[in-house]
């Protein structure tokens, strides 16, 4: 019984590191992608960071803890939604570009719509931390500072590995889909320790895992396709 609890504890701790890691990588990827799609890298970097942080803030404030099983289910769902958003985001960006290309309010529309997506990712990410905090505080008494510490550590790891992944020729989209895969793994790990599991949730999880793997295996085709949609040849 004791071992079980200790294992679970390190599971949750590593999940905190993972969510911190993924948070920052999402933000950095969006900043790079939007710099390419919209131009002005510094402004994009700052606005994506700002919007992401606002999303984080609102997400974390709106969370109210009930009890542990509900918390764990919330975390599972948050991870699913986060990965789904991550998987769909580059397609959304390109789609927004098509939608707004002829409109007179093009720049504003593009900026608002793309940042709305980033806000949503930030919002769901904002749920992660308080949920994990409350799960951990159900187990140990020590909530906030430990969680913050691990979270920062995860973000620090992200800041160091992001340039390595990018410069190491993975590419923006591969990195994005690796991170969504990490979120899905977190969802899977949580799923396995949930007490109540529904069929719908299992199908959603499996479906997203398969989709993610499919994207990763066909990444070069996806990149080429998006490039052709964004900049069609004459």
């Amino acid at each position: 019984m004791m071992t079980g609890t200790r294992d679970r504890l390190s599971l949750w701790n590593s999940l905190i590191v993972l969510t911190g890691f993924c948070s920052l990588v999402y933000e950095l990827i969006f900043a790079q992608l939007l710099a390419g799609l919209l131009g002005n890298a510094f402004a994009r970097f700052a606005t994506t960071l700002g919007v992401y942080i606002v999303g984080l803030g609102i997400g974390s404030i709106l969370f109210t803890s009930k009890d542990e099983p509900t918390d764990r289910k919330l975390f599972f769902r948050a991870e699913l939604v986060l990965s789904a958003l991550g998987l769909v985001s580059p397609f959304l960006f390109v789609a927004f570009n098509q939608v707004f290309s002829e409109s007179p309010h093009r720049d504003l529309g593009l900026v608002l719509s793309t940042h709305a997506v980033i806000f949503c990712v930030g919002f769901v990410s904002g749920w992660e931390l308080p949920v994990l905090t409350s799960i951990l505080s159900h187990r140990t008494g020590d909530g906030e500072s430990r969680v913050l510490g691990f979270d920062y550590f995860g973000m620090f790891l992200a800041s160091v590995s992001f340039p390595i992944m990018m410069v190491g020729n993975f590419g923006l989209l591969t990195t994005l889909f690796i991170v969504t895969f990490m979120n899905l793994s977190a969802a899977l790990a949580t799923f396995l320790v949930l007490r109540e599991r529904t069929r719908v949730e299992m199908i959603a999880l499996l479906g997203l895992l398969i989709l993610n793997a499919a994207f990763l295996f066909n990444i070069r085709h996806l990149e080429a396709w998006m490039s052709l949609v964004y900049a069609p040849p004459s």
């Binding site: 920052l24 950095l28 790079q32 992608l33 710099a35 390419g36 799609l37 131009g39 002005n40 890298a41 510094f42 402004a43 970097f45 700052a46 606005t47 960071l49 700002g50 919007v51 942080i53 606002v54 984080l56 803030g57 609102i58 974390s60 404030i61 580059p90 290309s101 906030e144 500072s145 913050l148 510490g149 920062y152 550590f153 973000m155 620090f156 992200a158 800041s159 160091v160 992001f162 340039p163 990018m166 410069v167 020729n169 590419g171 923006l172 989209l173 990149e223 998006m226 490039s227 964004y230 900049a231 069609p232 040849p233 004459s234």
Partner: protein, 536 residues
């Protein structure tokens, strides 16, 4: 009622403080991005270090004894804000000056030390405010976090859209330092329960005074940095005096900060004051143009460059040039050469930076070179981002000239991507061609592996965009001419003689390009083209 005021006061100050924190982070990211060759890595590392030091600051606060008592928390916060303010005044200039002496990894280490200090100090703020509000507010953690997030958001908009583009990083950082000092004084007044007795005013004033004076030092500091960068930097401390005397004799470096880049015009007045990286000139009034401290144009060599590009390019081009597009080239020098051809009917020039156009029209030395080309009736200047303009463009041109800085930043890499070249192809008439600066000579013979990779990647991007047929020309200043249709590019030397100077005539030769195949550069899979800083 009293409690409400107290809560509002602290939340407002927390909001201001988080504006400062986020602003410092963004400014540090920006400075390092522009000083290093690899902005993606340096930005990433700066964020990571900043976050880490926020954590360290929070940790230190947790361990400190000050947290037990409200008054000592307040005192700690005041001390933190004063330290931040003073430190921030020196932070960015010190990184700039450090960049004169150390490069690469060592510079990154030094600047991360600066980041660490600012981040740690900032990291103390958040838990301190939570502590201050705990007796008054039930969910103080959530409220302070909310103020923190709001401040971060406000800062991201303020810095990215207003302060840095209009004022530049140093002045922006000083304004934020002033804000930190203002926060310190607000907290100071709170500490003494807002009583306004004489000497208490003196202390916050003393804090803000350095900020005010330093604003007056902005220009001398800037000139010291620029002259050290372009001419000579003091090599040791004892050297400083003599270097300053030297600097006093050098004409002022003209720096124009546009929202997009720093434009420097550097003069070379006599043999004694050679400009670093340039060969010593015997011509009076020679000057050099730099964009973001990267060399763009020399008044001595520009003739060969532009004559080769325009006359050589048009000579090789299969299609007669009636309708021409220039992307970049805001200095007006390509236009000057193009106007010598009567068959050219319209020249559309798309330049991002209005300041460059103003310089070309109004700067005494530059406008003399330009000969009023930008005001010619055949020339239509459009101020726009080249990428966006081409994306929206539906017109077709016979020839397109692309005169842009080399892809040393993320923004510039975009202009060397598959997507950009597809837009170029779409803007070309059948049989039309595109000509751009391609330092084949330097790179192929003396370039490093990574430099060769950059240009190999550009070639790959051209091919993937549907522009696979090219030829390189120009022995000293070289260019690439590109077309979608197959064409045997050959110089017609008979047609060439009249319009060019003797110097350029020797440059008109075709070159062979042999590079290892590389991956194309796409927005969706950037190859982060980067180049080593040449000289300077």
């Amino acid at each position: 009622m009293r409690r409400q005021v107290e809560i509002t006061f602290y939340l407002m100050v927390a909001f201001l403080v988080s504006i400062c924190g986020m602003s410092y982070e963004l400014i540090l990211v920006r400075v390092l991005g522009s000083l290093s060759n690899d902005s993606v890595t340096s930005q990433s590392i700066t964020i990571g270090t900043f976050l880490l030091s926020l954590g360290i600051g929070a940790f230190l606060f947790g361990k400190s004894k000050a947290r037990d008592d409200q008054q000592s928390v307040l005192r700690l916060l005041i001390a933190v804000e004063i330290c931040l303010s003073v430190f921030a005044l020196f932070a960015i200039p010190s990184i700039q000056i450090a960049s004169l002496y150390v490069k690469g990894a060592k510079l990154v280490v030094y600047s991360q030390l600066v980041t660490l200090i600012i981040g740690t100090l900032s990291g103390i703020e958040l838990p301190a405010f939570i502590e201050l509000l705990k007796p008054h507010l039930r969910k103080s953690f959530a409220w302070v976090l909310a103020a923190n997030y709001a401040g971060a958001f406000a800062a991201s908009l303020l810095i990215a859209l207003r302060l840095v583009p209009s004022l530049g990083v140093i002045t922006a950082s000083w304004l934020i330092a002033l804000l930190s000092a203002a926060v310190a004084s607000l907290l100071f007044f709170r500490r003494f329960n807002f009583s306004l007795s004489w000497h208490w005013i003196g202390i916050p004033a003393a804090v803000m005074l350095p900020g005010f004076f330093t604003v007056n030092l902005r220009i001398p500091l800037e000139q010291f940095y620029l002259k050290s960068f372009y001419y000579a930097a003091p090599s040791t401390f004892s050297d400083v005096r003599s270097t300053l005397r030297l600097h006093a004799q050098i004409p002022r470096v003209l720096r124009i900060s546009s929202p997009y880049q720093e434009i420097d015009i550097v003069r070379s007045d006599s043999n004694v004051f050679g400009v670093s990286g340039q060969s010593v000139s015997s011509e009076p009034d020679a000057f050099f143009l730099y964009l973001d401290q990267k060399f763009q144009l020399s008044s001595i060599t520009e003739q060969i460059y532009h004559e080769t590009m325009v006359h050589g390019g048009l000579n090789l081009a299969p299609r007669e040039a009636k309708k021409v597009l220039i992307v970049g080239g805001g200095d007006g020098l390509i236009a000057r050469e193009l106007l010598k051809y009567r068959e050219v009917e319209t020249i559309t020039l798309v330049e991002l930076d209005e300041e460059v156009i103003s310089l070309a029209n109004m700067h005494p030395a530059l406008s003399e070179l330009t000969q009023g080309s930008l005001r010619d009736s055949r020339v239509k200047v459009e101020i726009a981002d080249g990428f966006e303009w081409l994306k929206r463009n539906r017109e077709k041109f016979d020839t397109i000239f692309i005169d842009l800085p080399h892809p040393v930043s993320v923004d510039l890499s975009r202009l060397y991507s598959v997507e950009f070249y597809r837009f170029v192809k779409r803007a070309l008439e059948p049989g039309g061609s595109m000509i751009f600066d391609f330092p084949a000579d330097g790179i192929l013979k003396n370039g490093s592996r990574s430099e060769q990779n950059v240009f190999a990647s550009i070639l790959a991007s051209l091919v993937e965009a549907g522009l696979p047929h090219y030829a390189a020309f120009g022995t000293w200043e070289s260019f690439l001419i590109v077309s979608s249709e197959k064409h045997d590019f050959k110089f017609d030397y008979d047609r060439l003689d009249q319009k060019i100077s003797d110097k350029s005539a020797f440059n008109m030769e075709l070159l062979e390009v042999k590079l290892e195949p590389a991956r194309a550069n796409s927005i969706f899979r950037p190859s982060y083209l980067r180049e080593r800083n040449a000289g300077g």
